[in-house]
Amino acid sequence: MGGFLDRLLNRDSKSAYQAKERMRMVLIHDRVNMNTNTLENLKNEIIGVISRHVDIDSDSVRIEMTQEGRQQRLIADIPLKPSRRRGSG
């Protein structure tokens, strides 16, 4: 069982590791028929809609695909900016 750390450290150079990482992305996009481009467009539209109602930190917005079993989910993390009214009131 020795050499676990060694294996861990250069794991990403092994072809099986690369196969797995590539397949992870490919399968997500196959399953939901979405590519990084649509995801980026979606993110920009969401930022547009939400910032019409509330101030957001648009540079920190993250939209990610996650997997639960065979179910894909879109997770949006949208940091809000502190309200300005407090300072002026």
Binding site: S15, L27, G69
Partner: protein
């Protein structure tokens, strides 16, 4: 109790569906269960030669469906295993000669007489796949630890779910333990995690599969073959028995985490 219909399918071709069908049929029949294997790969008949029954064919699946023979006449009995039968594919027709409802009707009849009906599906997502999946109680998806086969397996698993024939079970075939150990082949854990379905069996790469096929004798009949043992284990799991997954580890184990992963549904 009516028999159970199992469909063996895959996205990519050549991953081992026909091999699995012949071997699971032979394994169940050698346990005394009555089994019929149906070759649904119309136009690309193969199961007959893998089982060594090519010289006995008179009628085929399309003859049966189109009413040119009775069911009894289309059933070819195996040479070695008296409980194993084959309904061969038609060689000179195409998939459109059979419809999903034809297959449902036929399998409903066969359920009355057989404990197991095992359908060998053609590869792909077309009509032949729909025919093979329509009557099924359980779909087994065969894949190899290789990117194209895994990707196509994912497509098929999605289609099986969409047809409400899920959940499909995964059979990973042609595993090379030494390559897995070196990190140069996707491990069973990797494939299960990617496809996120329940595992039914792990079959190693084994030359005996080819030599058995050369002779028309399924490798489960070879007591020394590791692939044969793997297929016998799958047959037992189909019968509802809990059989530990083969540690394919004559040359070093790699199945440490596996049991845990299976229990948690592949995550």
């Amino acid at each position: 109790m009516p028999g159970k219909v199992i469909t063996i399918t895959s996205g990519k071709g050549g991953v081992g569906k026909t091999t699995a069908c012949a071997n699971l049929g032979a394994a169940l029949a050698s346990d005394g269960l009555k089994v019929v294997c149906i070759d649904a790969d119309i136009g690309l008949r193969n199961l007959d030669v893998v089982l060594g029954l090519e010289n006995r064919i008179v009628y085929d699946l399309v003859d049966l469906i189109e009413g040119r023979c009775r069911t009894r006449q289309a059933l070819i009995r195996d040479k070695r295993l008296p409980e194993l039968y084959l309904i061969p594919a038609a060689q000179t027709r195409d998939k459109s000669a059979v419809s999903p409802s034809d297959m449902i009707k036929l399998c409903d009849e066969l359920r009355g007489e057989f404990d197991w009906v095992i359908i060998d599906s053609p590869a792909g997502i077309e009509r032949g796949f729909r025919n093979a999946i329509a009557p099924t109680d359980m779909a087994l998806v065969v894949t190899n630890p290789e990117v194209a086969a895994v990707r196509d397996a994912d497509r098929i698993i999605g289609l099986i779910e969409a047809e409400e024939k899920g959940p499909a079970r995964l059979l990973i075939n042609r595993i090379k333990p030494n390559m897995v150990k070196r990190g140069e082949m996707l491990s069973p854990e990797d494939v299960i995690e990617l496809l996120a379905i329940e595992l039914i069996g792990l079959v190693p790469e084994d030359e005996n599969v080819l030599t058995g096929t050369n002779r028309g004798a399924p490798v489960v009949l070879n007591g020394k073959s590791r692939a044969g043992q793997a297929f016998r284990n799958i047959a037992q799991r189909l019968r509802g028995e809990k059989v530990p997954f083969l540690a394919l580890d004559e040359n070093g184990g790699f199945l440490g985490k596996l049991t845990r992963m299976i229990r948690t549904g592949g995550r």
